[in-house]
Symmetry: C2
Subunit: 433 residues, 2 copies
Amino acid sequence: MEKTKLITPRKLKGFWELMPKEQMLFSSLLSKIEEVFKANCFVPLDTPVLEYSETLLAKSGGETDKQVFRFTKGDADMCMRYDLTVPLARFVAMHQNELNFPFKRFQIGKVYRGERPQKGRFREFYQCDADIIGDGELSLVADAECVNMFEQCFDALGLKTRIEVSNRKILSGFIEEIGQNDHMTDILIVLDKLDKIPLEEAMQELSEIGLKSEECEKIIKLTKTSGKIEEIMQNLRNFCQNQLFQIGLEELQELDTYLKSLGSTSVTYNLSVIRGHNYYTGTVFEGFLKNRKEAVGGGGRFENLCSYFSDKKMPGVGMSVGITRLFDLLLSDGYFDISKTSEIDVAIINFDETLADGLKVMQTLRKNGVKAEVFSENKSFKSKMKEANKRQVKYVLIVGSDEVKSQKFALKDMESGEQISLTIEEIIKKIQY
Amino acid sequence: MEKTKLITPRKLKGFWELMPKEQMLFSSLLSKIEEVFKANCFVPLDTPVLEYSETLLAKSGGETDKQVFRFTKGDADMCMRYDLTVPLARFVAMHQNELNFPFKRFQIGKVYRGERPQKGRFREFYQCDADIIGDGELSLVADAECVNMFEQCFDALGLKTRIEVSNRKILSGFIEEIGQNDHMTDILIVLDKLDKIPLEEAMQELSEIGLKSEECEKIIKLTKTSGKIEEIMQNLRNFCQNQLFQIGLEELQELDTYLKSLGSTSVTYNLSVIRGHNYYTGTVFEGFLKNRKEAVGGGGRFENLCSYFSDKKMPGVGMSVGITRLFDLLLSDGYFDISKTSEIDVAIINFDETLADGLKVMQTLRKNGVKAEVFSENKSFKSKMKEANKRQVKYVLIVGSDEVKSQKFALKDMESGEQISLTIEEIIKKIQY
């Protein structure tokens, strides 16, 4: 028979794939976040990875977006989802008469961006989204729940974070007040990069947009306002009498009351939080690791989720943890001790005549939550010990004929080198606790 | 401003999507299976949904397979994965020098088939796969672990199943013995449908392939052999002296010994288990719900996982639960009580002045594992009670000013109608246990 030509195994560029230990750690982060979502009474949703292009590109009027993986099959023109929000909008619009509102759903899933691969940017990555959608109206309590749950996510991961909150109505109200409504987006784009460019450059850009010199100063001062809610209120109550501005302030204060009831402790207020997305209209927030400047997630309030699919007004508020990026930051910060991560707690070393006994001991340990593994490949004692070492197993358990007779087994702590003789029950107790 | 034309929200045909309650149930099945995989020391793997077409279609020599979603982006020709095995092979071949062997990995993920949608067949569905890959060699203990873990999966779901096991070497050995090696696949195809077509038709097809009348009878008798291991051995030990046949029998007996050590109780042996895939070469098994004829998963031993990517021989054994199909069967069998599935255990009904108190109570309950939800939308008491009913909430908890003062809250059991006054601690105790 002719030998088949071998194909070089390659992964697509820009696609994330972890080695087993990293994947174990990453999966445990996902589980912890999922637990938080469930504990807060959010229901899971699992939409298809593919959608009709018409649906997914509704916003852009159906034009091909270069950043989207799009193709046709039969007569269907489809795309891979680039976020979890448009599929949510499609789902809510389709099922608006069957769902309970406020509809609280979470979705943890991969999304796809067709952009050119570059460092720190992936073409396939996870999003952990949770949103609350109202039917016509939605209380500010929902905003507080999202901010608080965002905080709970980081608490569950054992991470020290600060969460910075603002309300888009405040800046928008001020921009309205100075008659620059038509340049809203341009102005927000400048303000969004205040911490990245020199002040003079920002002033210059704002004045090019059409702001007077004192307006530039005032809006920069406004954007740089931060602190506790009392400080915000004291500094801004008389800053601008515009109605939208004042509503924004009131909402911020109301939100703070709810956050206190919910027990939030990591929240401060910072008017520089803008969040790029155009669709945020009220509360906006971002989370930061203590030692980092890049946000690792955030969210906010939007006016109408389903505007492209339905006449019904469906306001919402959501939060998202940028888990792929967060994991990368944690990895490079040395947050995980990968050398101590092993899929096995106890390596069981048996001899030919005690294989059946070794398997029985293994099952008993596993049933009691101890990750035990019989090294069943036909190798010498020495090479099995070497293997246990290489795999960073915590304990080795020796199951020989004598041990089977006495039902006491030699347990060796691979770090300290200590070896003691114990019954199965004692072993379980020692390792479980 | 001109009104945007609305787009009808549609899901792609043949793509599975569950409503929240069904999704809660489905997710809990997935979690239970994942727990089983982890308890058995399998590590998670999460390969990209997209692969180079060259990789994914290695088997077919790179020809486009109509059942695959394939497209190009830039200069990359790629496909959505149609199973989790080829990506595993690509991963193992890429990392063969970094991985620990036997490499035990699980992957729970969606796979894609571009075929025309039809009832019971989906274009996107889940696979729950676990495989053990050896480096050059792999003990039969691995086969036993896979069969046993397959059983554990169904146990974890509380399902009564029977697991039927065979070894492909037995049938192959017999076919070799009668000199029909060249027609191996054709013969197996006929034998695989013995329970679906009349006996005469099977005999006819076999004789057309070239089997003599007594060979037909003998191979059908062989295929219909089933029972405990002792019965199999007694009936078949002298059935055929072909070496492969005898090795198959020995392996089956050895497997049975390991399965007994591992505590398996749902296994019987049945030579009619063939499993379509060409690549199975030894142990094969399938699982059936007690009342059903369609398999809900299975697996087996294969000779070489990475033959298209590497010269190294990597034997493996795997198992897969057909969770999407299983869930559909369970739904139609009434296995779930969907009317009793709710994302909320306790609906908290507060009044305007007690919203903050309601939120505090809610957080305390949630922190103690009780799924509590404040109905915070600005509605009347009556309409909140109606909402609680509609959402099949088990309890309603009333948080009014008097309750806040006394710290005793009225808890109403929505099924029995009983209402009692309890402290938060008492409520937690009542609902947790």
